[in-house]
Symmetry: C2
Subunit: 406 residues, 2 copies
């Protein structure tokens, strides 16, 4: 005891080396986070709210699980970058076995490419003179980039630009399998494949088929039926194109909701799920293979808030509102560690908490973490995501493509 | 004819000097916009979508109208910066007669201060060691900044920090007049005023009272009744504090929905409206003094999109979805120049347009401008706002406090 006490005293300063908690100034915290040099015990308490937190244990488990699933099922994994918009996250998944990353828009893919990510698939058609100009630049930088097309005029425009630039572009035919973009499966898609095949400066890589209508169907069996119905025409279109002598070795689809459905469908060669890394209230609600709550993946994403006002015993107000959370779903954020508390939207900058039945007292200055209704548009509100493990902050990752929807 | 043709030829190059339209590369456009040197005829067609546009004629008319109203009613105007988050817009309003700008959060006010805006009012309480540290820094930079408080402990914390820094902080008592933050009007507020009055390093500037519940009441008379009910306790609290020998010369309130109601109430000395500069579908729906559509101010704000897919004759898809528009209201964006077309949310990055009854044909590559459901959270999605006049782009303003809710 005597000796341990002595050793403890001897090494007590500097406290940071021992992991003992000390208090930092705001400027010190910012310096540590921006330089990435987090030393000692920086805890969540030191972060300015509202802030986006990533529980690294949960995140790493999610990535490992999806990577193992794809490996076992012999499908490529190209996670969708619109969920995270963060080159560091894209690279973490490539290290875990992903072949690259999807960008919903050209701009997102440009940010990934500028940060060293290859294996890019742009899932929205590149329309207009300027965007085609940028697509050519991107293909020069990352020649394995795949661009989606769904109409003949766009094919002509891309071929002309690629010819002028003396490069060859890889194209994916975007298929209308749900209810958004794409060309009609079957004969129309075949005609487009033939049109691409005749172009000198284009190469058909395969088919891009996102069944957005299937991914959020509630109940595993219903979701399975819907995804099969949506994806079968894609598989058949791929076969039709190949039967007509055009190489079409690749079909990319799938989502967090259908990853274990689509990977059972013969002919789908690649999955492009996004939300599984974070999860959200919306995905929790769709139901899993073995229960009413979908929890194949852990909720790794929260928004940290602070109680800034308590007008009366029933109501507390946190500093996160319409600008801190996605608002496109018909349900509000849910606190991670407090039961019986209800969040009501309180305008741009605040949330009103009904604490009448809260499982613990809520005071001014308290920090409360909330799960988000929908992860993608929530992440798009923040410039950085804090990497936390337990209570410790390991650092920040830049959400470099935040707001980049162009 | 012969002579005019000759002159035309003579001055044809460079075309930019003549105002003749020519086509720019993407890189040229970016260079012009970033340096602010827009030369010649840069039109909306050259902007990468989705993009936030500000119709300068409408914006300037809105600012002039509100400034004239406040001048005539002898009220100060301190427009709320949470709407625009743009130092250039704050400064444009100060040039038109505003006394400063509100920041919903400390971080917003910091961005305004760093860009030369004074007369700042922070409308959310500054809670926690780091935020108080930052508030002291802000007060050093802009000593006329006013900070809102609604509880005694926070008053103690601010006094202690101001004492240590050897400065004096200006405080506003945030009053619970609607249903969000603040202390209860009357005796509780008086006690807080007395508490502040006893502190050596604090100065009571007056009362901050935002009646968020009144601003969006539909129908002018109903709105008037609600605002009177909400704001009367604020006016009475101000009198009560003064009757008790404490100077309380200032009461700030009002919104775009109640500017012409609150400016009729004796005792309110300042208005802090925000949305009037832009307007949105939500405010249009609340009804005006003289009709069912509230149009005291013009809709100056739109989101420019491009049609990127047309899967069939009834449906076109634009490149603006949940990340391009606010989603907190139960109605979608509305096209500015096309009648009979319905926007349906199409996920993070797309909008599905039902064009069955559209007043004109909609083709791939078409550019469509939409009015936004709610201006504040829509603006918060973009890093820049394009200043347009008619079809011309005059330049961009940085939305420097975008995402700054801390």
């Amino acid at each position: 005891m005597q000796r341990r006490h002595f050793v403890g005293t001897l090494f007590a300063a500097p406290a940071v080396l021992k992991g003992a908690k000390r208090s930092f100034s705001y400027a010190e915290v910012e310096r540590m986070l921006v330089t990435g040099e987090v030393r000692g015990r920086l805890t969540k308490d030191e972060i300015a709210s509202p802030a986006l937190l990533l529980d690294m244990d949960a995140f790493e488990a999610n990535v490992a699980k999806m990577a193992a699933h794809c490996k076992q099922q012999q499908r490529a994994l190209r996670p969708h970058g619109k969920t995270h918009k963060c080159p560091d996250i894209a690279k973490a998944m490539i290290r875990a076995g992903a072949v690259g990353a999807c960008g919903a828009k050209l701009g997102e893919a440009e940010v990934f490419a500028a940060n060293g990510v290859s294996g890019l698939l742009v899932t929205t058609a590149v329309i207009g003179k300027h965007k085609i100009e940028r697509a050519i630049d991107l293909a020069r930088k990352q020649p394995d980039t795949i661009f989606s097309v769904d109409n003949a005029q766009n094919v002509n425009d891309l071929d002309e630009a690629a010819g002028a630039a003396r490069i060859r572009l890889n194209l994916a035919i975007d298929l209308f399998v749900s209810n958004r973009t794409g060309i009609i499966p079957g004969e129309p898609a075949l005609a487009l494949a033939q049109h691409i095949d005749r172009k000198k400066h284009l190469r058909l890589h395969g088919i891009q088929a996102y069944a957005g209508g299937a991914s959020h169907v509630t109940g595993f069996e219903a979701r399975q039926r819907r995804s099969l119905a949506d994806m079968t025409p894609a598989v058949e279109t791929r076969r039709l194109i190949e039967k007509n002598g055009i190489s079409c070795p690749w079909l990319s689809g799938g989502s967090t909701g259908t990853y274990n459905i689509d990977s059972e469908i013969d002919g789908i060669t690649e999955l492009q799920p996004g939300s599984f890394i974070f999860m959200d209230i919306d995905y929790n609600r769709i139901g899993g293979k073995s229960g009413p709550v979908y929890q194949d993946f852990q909720n790794s994403l929260t928004v940290l808030t602070t109680v800034v006002s308590k007008p009366n015993d029933r109501q507390a107000v946190v500093d996160g509102g319409l600008k801190a959370f996605s608002t496109d779903k018909p349900f509000p954020p849910v606190a991670k560690d407090i039961e019986g508390m209800i969040y009501h939207w309180g305008g741009d900058e605040h949330g009103r908490l009904d604490v009448s039945n809260a499982s613990r007292e809520v005071k001014i200055g308290d920090r409360i973490e909330f799960m988000v209704p929908h992860c993608d548009p929530s992440v798009n509100l923040y410039d950085r995501i804090y990497r936390v493990r337990g209570d410790q902050v390991e650092g920040v990752w830049r959400i470099a493509a935040r707001g980049v929807s162009q």
